[in-house]
């Protein structure tokens, strides 16, 4: 099997494929499974819209101004995290840490807003998960989203600590990149939740 002799045909040279890295493919796959998960919760929410036997209904319980505030926090955090990534690409470690920290603050602000909203719903409006179908589907959907925001904030804190110790730098951007993808996904889910849950409530649905 000695190679190199001219009697055998020589294979064409192997061209390197343009490809994503394995961690990138992994994160994409994970996000696909997350889409399937949230789609199921949203389907359940929509299927039970207006089926309640007792109140409060969404339009009686939900208030838009607070949610618009938290939504602005979450959506702007996607822009900030993007800016943080650009900073890291340029090698500006300090600016990266600052912007990354800003994203975390915005995420926590969103969670605080959700906590305030839930407190109001539970104690003032009497809406619990066992109150009616709206409570059942609302807390499940919004709760799982908030759980994902919490997971994202935790992951970002880990990245921040690594960045402060210079384990995450200009040369090693995989971590922040994947966490940012996840964060954009969580924001995307929120846009859908905002439309399906809050805008329909204002529109008089349910």
């Amino acid at each position: 099997m000695s190679a190199g002799t001219s009697i055998y045909p020589t294979p064409p040279p192997v061209v390197a494929e343009r490809n994503l890295s394995a961690p990138q493919w992994g994160m994409i796959s994970f996000l696909i499974s997350e889409v399937a998960f949230f789609t199921t919760l949203i389907v359940a929410y929509v299927a039970f819209m207006g089926q309640d036997t007792v109140g409060p209904t969404p339009s009686e319980a939900l208030s838009l101004p607070l949610v618009i505030g938290t939504t602005i926090c979450l959506l702007s955090s996607s822009v900030v995290v993007h800016a943080a990534q650009r900073a890291l690409e340029r090698g500006n470690q300090g600016l990266f840490c600052l912007l990354w920290f800003g994203t975390i603050v915005l995420g926590i602000a969103f969670l605080a807003g959700t906590a305030y909203e839930w407190r109001e719903l539970i104690f003032d409006k009497g809406l619990t998960i066992s109150r009616n179908l709206f409570g059942t589907t609302f807390y499940t959907l919004v709760g799982f989203h908030a759980l994902h925001v919490t997971g994202g904030v935790t992951a970002m804190l880990v990245v921040l600590l690594l960045a402060l110790r210079r384990k995450v730098t200009h040369e090693n951007q995989t971590g922040p990149e994947l966490v940012a993808w996840y964060w954009h996904f969580v924001d995307g889910v929120w846009i859908v939740v905002f439309c399906v849950v809050y805008l329909t409530a204002v529109g008089g649905g349910g």
Binding site: V14, W25, F37, A44, F48
Partner: protein
Amino acid sequence: MSLAQPSHTQGHAAPHTAAGENWAGWLHGWTTTVDHKRIGIMYVLMSLVFLVIGGCEAMLMRWQLAMPNNDVLGPEAFNQLFTMHGTTMVFFVGMPILIGAGNYLVPLMIGARDMAFPRMNAFGFWITLFGGLVVYFSFATGGAPAIGWFAYAPLTEHTFARSAATDFWAVGLIISGIGTITAAVNFIATILGMRARGMTLGRLPFFVWTMLWTAVQMLIAIPPLTAALVMILLDRQLNAHFFDVSNGGSAYLWQHLFWFFGHPEVYILILPVFGIISEVIPVFSRKVLFGYEFMAAATMAIVFISLGVWAHHMFCVGMNRTLDLYFAAASLLVSIPTGIKFFNWLATMYGGRIRFASPMLFAYGFLSMFLIGGLTGIMLAAAPFDFQLSDSYFVVGHFHWVLIGGTLFGTIAGIYYWYPKVAGRMMSERLAKWHFWLLYIGFMLTFGPMHISGMLGMPRRIYTYGPETGWTLWNQLATLGAVVQAPSYLIFIYNLVVSLKKGKPAGDNPWDAWTLEWSTTSPPSSYNFEETPTVHSRRPLWDLQHPDDPDWLYE
């Protein structure tokens, strides 16, 4: 990148905690391993243990049904047994054995040194096993859940299932579902991100291609089940109302959510087997796989079509006519890509020099039996026929025909095929023949009569029947079949164990096969390949053996 690439420096001096050391060291080596081959072996062994447990449950049920008005078990125990039998076979035998096979083979077949995320891989295995243990822990609550494997609401509501068994069942399946998702993520990242140089998607070994699409299907099908199981738990623990009809909830929603998972699930259980068969048939026919591109496209078509057919499990619920028509038509569509696969396998064999070794024998078993299971599937996909036979023993006969005749026969073909690579030794061909014929005959004897008792009106899941029903003979034949089948599994396990020490040495490539896993030693070293290979065609070993006439000239 550094996350994905295993260290190349471990090389030849990789520490081996194998034979020779003490028992604790051996145990430590296996429990802490992140080697995809060891994890794959553990998946398969775990599945075989659960196969025996699930098989014993089935034997008990056959014992109960052997005589009319029998009372060895009683209704309560019978309900628990069929729930646990179904749950075990689907979640803790079928899926993990195929994930295990994929774990062992995918990196070897694409010329990689490990899976993309070795530690997550180990996590996936242990959490799957843990999920199985949690499901079985339900027995400790005073009895397993008695809800059937598809757990129709409102049976799972607190009103009807008062013990914590149903909670353990749901939690166990959520946990093992997380394991399945990590495996799927790992397969996709590995297959797309870690292929050897020159291993383009068009040159993937066919088993790898089917594992890729199985993983995609897992990503889409498992999370809805997880969400639905969470809903069960919220209903039971926090008095939510998802499936609570008295407060506006819907039992119908559960059926949609469950079958949106449940139907793709059966393709998760069969697609990797299509891959195994597509590896075995060419090697034992001495020909290339006929119509590789069409086979690849058919795999994708099955994945996409099967995501839109779930409600054919619900024809008797009383959906409207439009939905019935749509789901019947969509279900029948699946037979087209499956038919493409069948004819391509036959065309691969046609004119080949067929060797009748054990893997090929079981591949024949697969082809003949899966065909019949597919045909009864077409019958059941026709809504008017299903109205008559839904939830009868005809359905039980049908799905066992595809799951045993299809998944099990194909998986066993794969085990006989790759065992020499894993163990370094050949399995006994003589025992394999005994295994095959006992299983083949016992299997047909068990599940054939079920089609008839089903058409005579026997509903599934009844714990007994009267002699006046005329079902006695068919049930006794089925029980006899189970008795014939049982020793085949013992022979198989005996063969697996004894060949480990006594089998004749296999060498690198005992079947004269063409994919990369056969280019390394048997068993492969922990780093798989001394040098990661470069690939020019779908059959790299053929190219190596025939430099004068390599495949890449024609592909």
